[in-house]
């Protein structure tokens, strides 16, 4: 642990400079077509970069393999929540419409209500299907949306990449290879040269935190 001599003005100035100097967040290389960005992502992955990503205005086919993205777990979460929705619907309808032995300790709010209508059976599963079905869909669809955003760590209202003027075209017509500064192999100068030499690379920029 270094002890800072707070009496010495020279040392203080040095500390201030070090604090002002922003750490790099990552490096972005700009490309303008699909072929080049796929080739660039492949090259970076083969060079051993792990913490990297591609930013594109639309989903690019073949980019998952190039970046090395594993299939998402999302469909399983949706299936699980869909089944939960179905069970909820089943319990809600059959319990509240049914005739049950009163357990005695339930408050009146949770007691089932027996509707006798045209002598129809209390437990009429066929008539409950629409409600069960809609709840299944509701649970799964909500999960598909919210789980997708959460797995993507969105909403993320601060992202250093958005500070780059150049990066604004990532949602319009440019493709960016992003190499994270936290990657073991990341070295500002060498990585910059590596990306700069890639085919079709239009610009390289180091983004600060």
């Amino acid at each position: 642990m270094t002890v800072i001599d707070t009496q010495n003005p020279d040392v203080l100035a040095e500390v201030a400079v070090a604090a002002d100097e922003p750490a790099a967040f990552g490096l972005i290389g700009e490309f303008d077509n699909v072929d080049d960005i796929i080739a660039a992502a492949n090259a970076a992955r083969e060079a051993g970069f792990k913490k990297m990503d591609v930013h594109s205005p639309f989903p690019v086919h073949g980019i998952d393999e190039a970046v090395g993205i594993k299939p998402t777990v999302l469909p399983w979460i949706v299936l699980l929540m869909g089944l939960t929705g179905m069970t909820t619907g089943l319990i809600l309808t059959t319990y509240t419409m049914g005739v049950w032995q009163e357990p005695g300790f339930l408050p009146v709010n949770f007691e089932p209500y027996e509707y006798l209508i045209s002598g129809k059976p209390y437990n009429s599963l066929a008539a409950f299907i629409p409600v069960i079905f809609e709840l299944t869909i509701m649970f799964s669809a909500y999960t598909a949306v919210f789980a997708m955003f959460l797995l993507n760590k969105l909403p993320m209202l601060h992202n250093p990449l958005l500070k780059s003027e150049r990066f604004r075209r990532a949602t319009s017509d440019r493709f960016f290879l992003m190499i994270d500064a936290r990657d073991r192999q990341f070295d500002a100068e060498q990585t910059k040269a590596f990306v700069k030499d890639m085919h079709g690379c239009r610009a390289v920029e180091i983004v600060d935190v």
């Binding site: 490309f31 077509n33 699909v34 072929d35 080049d36 796929i38 080739a39 990503d53 930013h55 594109s56 205005p57 639309f58 989903p59 690019v60 073949g62 998952d64 993205i69 998402t72 999302l74 469909p75 949706v78 809600l92 309808t93 509240t96 419409m97 709010n109 089932p112 209500y113 209508i117 008539a127 409950f128 629409p130 409600v131 079905f133 809609e134 709840l135 869909i137 509701m138 799964s140 669809a141 909500y142 598909a144 949306v145 789980a147 997708m148 993507n152 969105l154 909403p155 993320m156 209202l157 601060h158 992202n159 958005l162 075209r169 990532a170 949602t171 319009s172 017509d173 992003m178 079709g200």
Partner: protein, 504 residues
């Protein structure tokens, strides 16, 4: 464009993509637009100042929407006597309008979900505003049954929640199924719409010039940066949503039809109702899509993205579903005769010949006769005739619901309880004002949100695929592995098998 002989590769600026040439895919984005062009075309609408036309339209529609809510206020302080509803016609305008509006919504979900699963690429240009139409139509639809319960302040009793009265809703009732179906449909459609829009809102965030606009879009875009990892999950979620919305949309109008079909009333108690209602909903919905798309593409300068091919495809879907609706009309009459059911036969004789024959024949004219002009190719390629057909369907589908609801109720089993239905001025004005609610929401959408699914449209452009692999060349797209020489050019060149024109 007519001067180009078949097979010519001379690019033209005004591409005619309505011709079907089996040797190549018709381009869905014309006018020489590349990725930048598509972004700018759509972002221009949101980043520019509202035009005078927009203000005039918006102010008028907002006043109508205000009128809509004023009528609800009038209802609350006065009572349901302000409507023409009576005994036995207890459903009247609120339910007719509900079915009318919720039906319109179905075309939006059909375009966004079902056509997505069927890989109909042309849907990408129109799905965004068709979905917006769905949501605003469902907003209008939801208002009517909510206030039709009479004591509006107890509308929350429709939902199952543990309460001190020890009551639960009646889960065997189709009206309660409706509560679940419509609320699921409204909220899931909204999520589907918003999820699909997040990447495009991010586009607007990056294009916005004003500080307020940047904050507004940043907030809605949730920090979207187009990361490949995000796209991967996004596409999966989108596919799952499409797969979930497909049975959902079919179930919603089926459940709406159960409101009628489960009742014992002659003219309602029919098994054909669910498919008949779904087909009718899509028929009416596509008419509304066309009614909105044709002026919008003109005003917002989107003719190169919503091309003539898109309009013609919608017209064809409308024509097709119209045939299903006509078939359902005739099968209803056949079954009434074939069933040998005295009351059923009476109701179906009463419809064309009885006290509501005006409504019935108007429905037949608008739904079965007018739109048939679209069989003629010349009419199908002419915006006037497409609008002509769509307007017929808009009117006809409202009258269809009128005929179903009112004729059956007014002439039930006992002649002693027969009555005539007379809509009051409140009924009529309230219905007209619901267009104001729909329209003002739609105007806000047109101005402030991405009208076109920008990201999705880009995926269907030939440049979006590696090595331009498309059409018959898809098989050996991989062999062009050596670096393409398109890197330094802002837009890729049109190669042999693309009709994408280059430059203007």
């Amino acid at each position: 464009m007519a001067a180009i002989h078949p097979g010519s590769t001379i690019p033209t600026v005004e591409t005619d993509n309505t011709v079907d040439d089996p040797r190549r895919r018709a381009p869905l984005v014309t006018g020489g637009l590349d990725f930048t062009g598509v972004t700018d075309t759509v972002a221009r609408v949101a980043t520019s100042k509202p035009t005078r036309l927009w203000w005039i339209g918006f102010v008028i529609l907002s006043f109508m929407a205000l009128g809509f809510f004023s009528f609800i206020g009038y209802l609350v302080v006065t009572g349901v006597g302000i409507w023409g509803n009576n005994q036995p016609i207890a459903w009247g305008f609120p339910i007719i309008n509900f079915v009318f509006w919720v039906g319109i919504g179905h075309a939006g979900t059909l375009i966004s979900a079902i056509l997505f699963l069927f890989r109909q690429n042309w849907r990408t240009s129109i799905n965004r505003f068709a979905e917006a139409m769905t949501i605003f139509a469902v907003v209008c639809a939801g208002m009517f049954p909510a206030v039709h319960v009479g004591r509006v302040w107890f509308a929350y009793w429709l939902f199952p929640y543990p309460n001190q009265m020890g009551m639960w809703p009646q889960f065997r009732s189709p009206l309660l199924w409706d509560v679940f179906a419509v609320s699921t449909y409204a909220s899931v459609s909204f999520l589907f719409w918003y999820t699909g829009m997040v990447p495009d809102i991010a586009t607007l965030r990056d294009k916005a010039k004003s500080r307020l606009g940047q904050i507004f879009y940043s907030f809605l875009a949730l920090g979207w940066t187009g990361s490949a990892r995000h796209w991967h999950r996004f596409e999966k979620a989108y596919l799952l949503l499409a797969a979930l919305c497909t049975p959902l949309v079919l179930s919603v109008h089926s459940v709406v039809s159960f409101d009628f079909a489960v009742a014992q009333l002659p003219g309602w108690h029919t098994t054909v109702f669910p498919p008949y209602f779904v087909a009718g909903a899509i028929y009416g919905g596509f008419a509304m899509v066309l009614t909105l798309a044709i002026p919008c593409r003109q005003w917002l300068g989107l003719k190169h993205i919503i091309t003539m091919r898109h309009i013609i495809n919608c017209a064809k879907v409308m024509l097709g579903t119209g045939m299903i609706v006509m078939y359902a009309y005739s099968i209803e009459f056949f079954v009434a005769w074939y069933s040998g059911h005295h009351f059923e036969q009476f109701v179906f004789r009463n419809r064309p010949l009885g006290n509501y024959q005006f409504g019935f024949w108007l429905m037949v004219w608008c739904n079965c006769v007018g739109p048939q002009v679209l069989w003629i190719k010349k009419c199908r390629e002419n915006l006037f005739w497409i609008m002509f057909a769509a307007m017929h369907v808009n009117v006809g589908m409202w009258f269809e619901r009128y005929v179903i609801t009112v004729t059956s109720l007014s002439r039930d089993f006992l002649p002693g309880s027969w009555a005539q239905f007379h809509p009051t001025w409140v009924d009529i004005c309230w219905f007209i004002c619901s267009f104001g609610l729909f329209g003002s929401l739609f105007f806000l959408f047109l101005k402030f949100l991405p009208v076109i699914a920008v990201a999705e449209v880009k995926t269907i452009m030939p440049e979006a695929h590696a090595s331009h692999g498309h059409g018959e060349h898809e098989g050996h797209a991989k062999e062009a592995e050596e670096p393409a020489d398109t890197a330094s050019q802002p837009s890729p060149p049109a190669d042999d098998d693309t009709t994408q024109p280059e430059g203007a």
